[in-house]
């Protein structure tokens, strides 16, 4: 994969810019990075705090030629990429909270959000990755649940090193995903890195209900299997998963 990187000091949202670039015909591998986002987006309209120089705000255009049912695995693959980047570069021990939040000691260090869009060149997928570099200015409600590379290593990370390793791992795992049996390999990679894959007591907040249960692996498209107390397996495609601590 060849990367072309567009750099911005301040931008509304790197995902929005990458979406617009894709609609104008940008090739796979186009990346948008910014030092600051004024309207960073999280899942389902949530705000992503994106203060100047506090994070790496990164979005990439993909045009994957894989079976549509496996497309959601791109977000699991992206989590594996960030997980390995942080471990390799900074020796930070990470966990992947389903589906693609990167956690360090139960605090979030990275969030990932992907979007599809129809373009003249066919379907494109934009993967947005926000990695916390520093966390001095987190609002109080986020400070308790978030961390940053600086917090974990006591050093200010070099953004260029981070970007280089991130794109290198992205190319490696993306090649795996689009190769033969790639979906299965990515599921394995994800499962090996996530403590949420099996036997985790969780609470799942879905749009209209809350489910309690124990995780029982993932489906072929990355959906989480949760067994409830009456033995029923619920398949979760969207929702916030929380670890339940033993009382």
């Amino acid at each position: 994969m060849n990367f072309t990187i567009l750099r911005f000091d301040t931008i509304e949202s790197t995902n929005t810019e990458a979406l617009n670039q894709a609609k104008r015909g940008a090739d796979e591998g186009l990346c948008v990075i910014a030092k600051q986002q004024t309207a960073g987006r999280g899942r389902h309209g949530r705000n992503w705090v994106s203060e100047k120089d506090s994070g790496l705000y990164f979005s990439i255009v993909l045009r994957p030629k894989i079976e549509p049912r496996f497309l959601p695995l791109i977000t699991l693959m992206s989590a594996v990429v960030v997980h390995d980047t942080l471990e390799k570069l900074y020796k930070i021990e990470c966990d992947i909270k389903w589906v693609n939040d990167i956690h360090v000691r139960d605090k979030k260090i990275c969030g990932i959000l992907a979007e599809t869009c129809d373009t003249p060149k066919g379907l494109a997928i934009i993967v947005g990755i926000g990695i916390n570099l520093k966390s001095p200015n987190f609002p109080p409600e986020i400070a308790e649940t978030a961390t940053s590379i600086e917090n974990e290593t006591a050093k200010t990370p070099n953004v260029e090193d981070l970007l280089q390793t991130l794109t290198r791992y992205f190319a490696i795992f993306y090649e795996v995903l689009i190769s033969e049996n790639g979906a299965k390999k990515i599921r394995q990679d994800w499962t090996e890195r996530s403590s949420y894959a099996f036997r985790k007591n969780v609470k799942v907040n879905i749009e209209n209900e809350i489910i309690f249960g124990i995780t029982r692996g993932i489906e072929e498209n990355g959906a989480l299997r949760v067994e409830t107390s009456d033995g029923e397996i619920k398949i979760i495609h969207a929702g916030d998963v929380e670890r339940l601590r033993k009382v």
Partner: protein
């Protein structure tokens, strides 16, 4: 006895049995199944049965049973009621056959609006064109914006906000 006569005789026997059983206030599942088998056996596309206690209608021509959607009592504030009305789900029926169905391209969760506090992308009666975004289906934090792909009017909304949807499930009915 010819095959036709035999079939008729069988059917009369079954019909008598069912009539006898339906003097109870309702049909149980076994009786319903028997009724469905009887209808199927004779190649009927429509079957209706009625007595003082119950009315049963079976039809093979439509994809889903005819269900009268009963609206739950709304206890939410008036402002929320307006929003609810725009996403009142309906079951596709035979009368929807002439509508263009916008279906879900993936298994996931249906969202009528870009965020919980935002208005729905489209409401009943709205005019849409090919590129109009009508909803989002989320799967594993991959947000799939669904476009109308045809021009017309939104006349049916088959799913509710936050509802899980299957591949190919009808989401909207558009009158072109």
């Amino acid at each position: 006895m010819s095959e036709t006569a035999l079939a008729k005789s069988k059917s009369e026997t079954k019909e008598r049995t069912i009539k006898k059983q339906t003097t109870a206030p309702s049909l149980n599942m076994a009786e319903l199944r028997e009724l469905a088998e009887l209808v199927n056996e004779h190649g009927f596309t429509d079957f209706e049965f009625e007595n003082a206690n119950i009315r049963v209608r079976l039809s093979k021509m439509i994809a889903a049973p005819i269900v009268q959607t009963v609206q739950p009592a709304v206890s939410a504030p008036v402002a929320a009621t307006v929003q609810n009305e725009t996403v009142t789900p309906e079951t596709p029926t035979a009368t929807d056959e002439d509508l263009h169905k916008i279906t879900s391209p993936i298994v996931g969760t249906f969202y009528a609006s870009p965020a919980p506090d935002k208005d729905a992308y489209v409401s009943l009666g709205d005019k849409v064109s090919e590129n109009t975004t009508v909803c989002i289906v989320e799967a594993m934090k991959l947000m799939n914006e669904i476009q109308a792909e045809v021009s017309g009017e939104v006349v049916k909304i088959y799913v509710e906000n936050g509802q899980p949807v299957e591949y190919g499930q009808p989401l909207f009915g558009i009158r072109k």
